[in-house]
Symmetry: C2
Subunit: 203 residues, 2 copies
């Protein structure tokens, strides 16, 4: 193991069910091993465009299986999840708000991410719908007019794009994606390997 106390980099997409499941266990797992978590919102759609990768749900056979597996994997992890009627959805506005919050307070940005992921996957709130996202922001303490001003602001559009470009440059091609001491782990289903890595170092 190279640097035992560095943060775990956690890349997630607001519209990714497996990212949601991982978002519910990553903090506790990291804490058990004396680690912190650096959260990075990304847009898988943009990544897929650059890498020519497609979402699993864009293939009919895989889509049917994935829908079943999202919910089964959530039950397996003990996380409440009900696939929303509209899926996948555009989440750039939620992600821009994430980077805006992060510039002031990283913990508050994490809280926003968890608030949004739970709203989408446990309550069926459509994050791509501007009024619904504004209502979610209001619950969180962000006035509706401010939320819209942030996601329309070229500064936060650019911040999200830059974060996505960095993720792609680091080789992040899916979500959730974890980088621990330089070692990449892709997928909610790498949880057991991550746990072993944190316990024993490289294996």
């Amino acid at each position: 193991m190279h640097a035992p106390h560095r943060a775990i980099d956690f890349y997630f997409d607001f519209s990714s069910p497996y990212s949601y499941i991982a978002s519910e266990w990553i903090e506790a797992l990291a804490a058990r091993h004396g680690r912190t978590v650096a959260w990075h919102a990304m847009l898988l759609g943009a990544t897929f465009q650059v890498t020519d990768i497609k979402s699993p749900v864009s293939y009919p056979l895989k889509r049917e299986y994935s829908m079943l597996d999202f919910e089964r994997s959530a039950r397996f992890a003990g996380v409440p999840l009900k696939m929303p009627a509209k899926f996948p959805i555009a989440t750039q506005n939620a992600a821009r708000l994430f980077y805006w919050l992060q510039a002031g307070d990283a913990d508050r940005a994490v809280a926003w991410a968890r608030h949004c992921l739970r709203a989408l996957f446990a309550r069926g709130v459509d994050l791509s719908d501007a009024p619904a996202l504004q209502a979610l922001g209001a619950e969180f303490g962000i006035p509706a007019a401010q939320a819209e001003a942030v996601w329309s602001d070229p500064q936060w559009k650019a911040a999200l794009k830059a974060a996505n470009d960095v993720a792609i440059a680091l080789g992040v091609f899916g979500a959730p994606y974890f980088i621990i001491d330089g070692e990449p782990f892709w997928g909610n289903d790498r949880r057991a390997q991550i746990e072993r890595w944190l316990e024993k170092g490289a294996f």
Copy 2:
């Protein structure tokens, strides 16, 4: 759980490292739960053509990650694996021999599958190379001339194609793929979910 004592259907591809890893644990796991395993050789390449899905190693970013993850996942499972220099490879001849053996003795076909998977992934034997595959057959007790006669025989070509068509019709879009009491599980990394399913039934 619908029919607790039925076989676990296990779909594998001779050129799939995750299939190899799963092939090393599926029999013991099934036996612990009073189950048997029905092995089905398939050609992922043919499946990918029909479904328009691509191999993960056909995307540069995913390929690099996958190469690392194949070996790490093998170490995690305690299975010796060294990625062969040539990968992926064509494995229709090994698969035709599998169906030829299965017509006479299902256990012997399973032994052949394990013999080939271990040869490719632990010893670097190129199953796509006719003389190498014949030598492997000879180790197993199949004379070289007979091996070639089998894989050239339209009957065993058709048997493999039919098995592949059935797998696709059942929704098998990747490997390893498991169907247990009608429930599908895709991937070596669904091992823990399969174990829970066998222990407790549907969750």
